[in-house]
Symmetry: C2
Subunit: 486 residues, 2 copies
Amino acid sequence: MLQFFGMTNQRKKRQIPNKAKDLSEWYLAVVREAKLADYAPVRGTMVFRPWGYALWENLQKYLDDLIKEMGVENAYFPIFIPMSLLEKEESHVEGFSPELAVVTHGGGERLKEALAVRPTSETIMYTMFSKWISGWRDLPLKINQWANVVRWEKRTFPFLRTAEFLWQEGHTAHATHEEAKAQVYLALEAYKKVFFEQLAVWGVTGWKSESEKFAGGLKTTSFEALMPDGKALQAATSHDLGQNFSRAFEVSFQDKEGKKKYVWQTSWGLSTRALGGLIMVHGDDQGLFLPPKIAPIQIVIIPIYQDKNKKIVLTAAKNLALELKQQFKVKLDDRESYSPGWKFNDWEIKGVPLRIEIGPKDLEKNQVVVVRRDNFDKLAVARVELEEVIKKLLAKQQKEALEKSKKMTQEKTHLVDSYDRFKQIMDGERGFIKAFWCGNPECETKIKAETKATTRCLPFDSKEENGHCIYCGKPAKYRWYFAQAY
Amino acid sequence: MLQFFGMTNQRKKRQIPNKAKDLSEWYLAVVREAKLADYAPVRGTMVFRPWGYALWENLQKYLDDLIKEMGVENAYFPIFIPMSLLEKEESHVEGFSPELAVVTHGGGERLKEALAVRPTSETIMYTMFSKWISGWRDLPLKINQWANVVRWEKRTFPFLRTAEFLWQEGHTAHATHEEAKAQVYLALEAYKKVFFEQLAVWGVTGWKSESEKFAGGLKTTSFEALMPDGKALQAATSHDLGQNFSRAFEVSFQDKEGKKKYVWQTSWGLSTRALGGLIMVHGDDQGLFLPPKIAPIQIVIIPIYQDKNKKIVLTAAKNLALELKQQFKVKLDDRESYSPGWKFNDWEIKGVPLRIEIGPKDLEKNQVVVVRRDNFDKLAVARVELEEVIKKLLAKQQKEALEKSKKMTQEKTHLVDSYDRFKQIMDGERGFIKAFWCGNPECETKIKAETKATTRCLPFDSKEENGHCIYCGKPAKYRWYFAQAY
C-alpha cells in the first residue's frame, strides 16, 4: 500500500461554493460532494447514496419509535392501485392525477385496467379498512407504512422534489371525530419532535388554508420550516380526513347500540424531503453540518503519524475508537491511501460533528485534539476527560444548531401590515410574513399571482385580533404565515 | 365496557384445517386467520398486515446487522429502470422480460421510453457503479438496499410468490474474482444464519445448475429448505456475477499499475418469501408457531378474573408485564370485550411462543401458569423463578424448532440410485432426492418433464464419488439434490 506522504495534492481538494451567494448551486454541490445522492437515469429520479440513506435510516429509527408509542402498527400495502379506486374520492383523484405514473403492461400483456404507481395510499388502504372493520371492537385501527411513492413532478431537485421519494404514511380510523382530531395533532407533534430534537430544524406548526389542504381531506396541519434563502419548506403534514374517504370507500362499523356509522379518519406523512431541509439549514461554505442526533457518524478519528511512529499511533487510535464506540457513533479513518489533510476535508464536507486528531505528540502528552465541525473550535483534551468532554460537546452542538435555526427563522419573520411592504419583502430578502388575511381564497390567489407567496399556515397558537386583510382590507381576525415555498 | 362473562360463544372460534391433509388449504387459512396477510385489489398483490409485517421487521433487523458486519452499506436506487438499460445484458433481459410490469405514461403524457418497474436492480445499480468507480481506491464497493420489487407472476401464493414482494439485494464490486467469490459465500452464510438461528428452518446450501442459475450471472448459490409436503423452497440466493455485467455496463477501474480492468461482481437477495417457509415449517393444526427469535411477541399475559377480584388480578398482570418487558417481548392482553378462552385461541393461531395465565388462585399461591405454544405443555411456575424459567423455555423452543425442521428434512431426504424409485417418490411422498447426475442439461430437462423435479443444488460439502447418472446412466461424480419446487 502507498503511504500518505506527499499525497495531499494527489487528489484535488473539493470546493464548495459560497452558500450565501447562491443557495441552489451550493446545495447541489454539497449533495454531490458529500455523496448524499446522485442523479439516476430516469428524469427526476435520484439515488440515495449510503451517506444520504444513513440519514434516512436514523430518522426512521427515531420516528418509528414515536409512531409505535402512539399505538400505531406497521404494515405494507401494494404499490399498484387500480385507477378505478383512485377515482372513488373525486377531489382526491383531481389532486393527484396530473402527477401519476401509470403501468399499462404486465407480463408481456396489456392490462385490462391501468394501474397507478402509488402517489399516496389512502385509496388502497381504505379499500382494505372497509373489509377489516365491521364493529366498534375493530376501532381504532392505526396503521403506518414505510414506502416509496411516485409523483411525476415537472421541476425536480434532489431530496426536495423528486419523481420517487421515500416516506412513512400513517392512516388511522376512529369511532369519533374528537378521537381522530387528537390523532392528527399527536402525529404532528411527533414530527415537530423529529425536527426540533433530532434534525435541529426550527419551524411553525399550524393549519393549512382550504386551497393548500390535502386533496380529499377536511383539514390539513403542517410543519413549516424556513430555509436560508427565505423560502419555506412544507416539511411534514397531518390530515383530518373527516368522513370523506370513509363514505367513498364504505368504511363503516356497528356501534355499541348496533347502529351503522362511518369512521373518522386521519393520514399523516413525513418524507425524505425533510433531509433536504436539514442540508439547507445546517450546511456552510465547508459543506454539510450534521447535528449529532442525526449524524451516522458523530466522531471521526484521524491518526497522524510518520513511518517511525506509525504502529504506536495506529494502535492508540484503534483503542480509542473501541472505547468511544461504547457510547458514540465512531469511525476510525485509517485509510493509508489518503493524507490526513484530505481526510479532514472529506469528513468536513460530509458534516461529521467532531473530529479527533491523534498523533505522536498527543500520545506523549496523554491527550487528543478535538475539532468541532460547526465552528471549527479546536481543543486539546486530556485523555482521561475525553468522554465527558465529548458528551458535553455533542449536546452543545445539538442545542446550538436548533438555536441557530430558530434565530435565522426569527430574523427572517416579518410582521407586515402593508401590501407594498409585503411585495417588497417577497421581491427581496423573502422570509415568513405574518399578515392578516380575511380567509377569502380570491385574495390568497391574487397574492400568490403577484408575489409568488402562498399561505403557509395559521399557527396553532394564533390569537384572535382585530385586523384588516393585507390584500382587500376587509376585517380579518388572524395573522397567517405567508412565504414563497419550495 | 362489557365484561367477558358469557362471551365465549359470542364470537365463533376460528378453525384451522388439518395441516397434513391439505397443506395449501391449511396455509391459506393460517395466513388469513393469523392476520398475516390479505389479498389486495390487483391480481397477485397482497397486503402485509401488521402481524405479518412485524415478522419481516424482525428479520430485517437481524439480517441488517449481519449485512453491516460484512462492511456493506445501505442505499436506495430508483424503482424505474429504462428498458434500454435492462437490455444491456442479453441473458438478463431474456430471463426477466416475461415478468416485467411496464410504465408507459407519466404526468399525463406518454413517455418517450417505457420504464420497467424493478424486478431486480443489477442494471440500474451498475450504471451508477460505472460512474462511481474509477480507481483501485474505490474498491471494494459494497451496497445493499431494502426495497419492493415487482415480478408479474402467473400463479401467485401469499408470501411465496406474489407480483410485488419485499427484499434486500446486496451488490458488490471487487478488484479480484477471489474476493468476489468470498463475498458470495459470506452472504449465503448470513442467510443460513437467519434460517438456522432466527427462523429455525433447516436447509441445504450449495451451487445451482447452469439452467437454474441467475439470468446473467456466472454461478448461483442458494439456500434450499424442505416444506412439510415434500416440496423445496429456494429461500435465498447469492450470485457470482463474474464480469458479465461489468463488461456490459463498463464498470472498470485503473489498478495500481495504471491498467484498466473490469470489476468482479456479486449480488445476493433474501425476500419475504422466507416468511412463507417459516409459516409452512412451523405451523400446526392450531395455527402458526413462531420460534421465539422471530416472534414479534414472545409472551402474552392473559389475566383471568371475576368482578370481585378484577382489580387485584389486573394490577398483578400489569406489574408482571412491566417486569418481563425488561427482558422479553411481552403483550398484556387486557381487552375487556373478549373472553380468556377467545384470547387463548387468538394468540395460539398467531403463534406466540408462551402464554402466561394469571388468576386469583395463582396470586394466592404466588405463581403463574405458563403454556408452551409448540407442545401445549402447561406448568405452574413460582413467581420468583419465572424469569429464569422463561429464559430457558424460550431457548428450548428455539432449539427444538430447528431440530424438528432438521428431522423432518432428513426423514424426507432419500438417497436414490434408480430412476423408477425416483419417479415413485416424486409421484408420492416427494422430498429431497440425492441422486447422481452427469451434468448434461438434457437429462435435467427430461427429469423435470417426467417428474416435475428440478435440480435444487449441489451441496457445498459434496464429495466426489464414482456414480452413474440417474437418467442416462453415464458416469457421474456428484449427487445433486432434486425436488419439486415452490
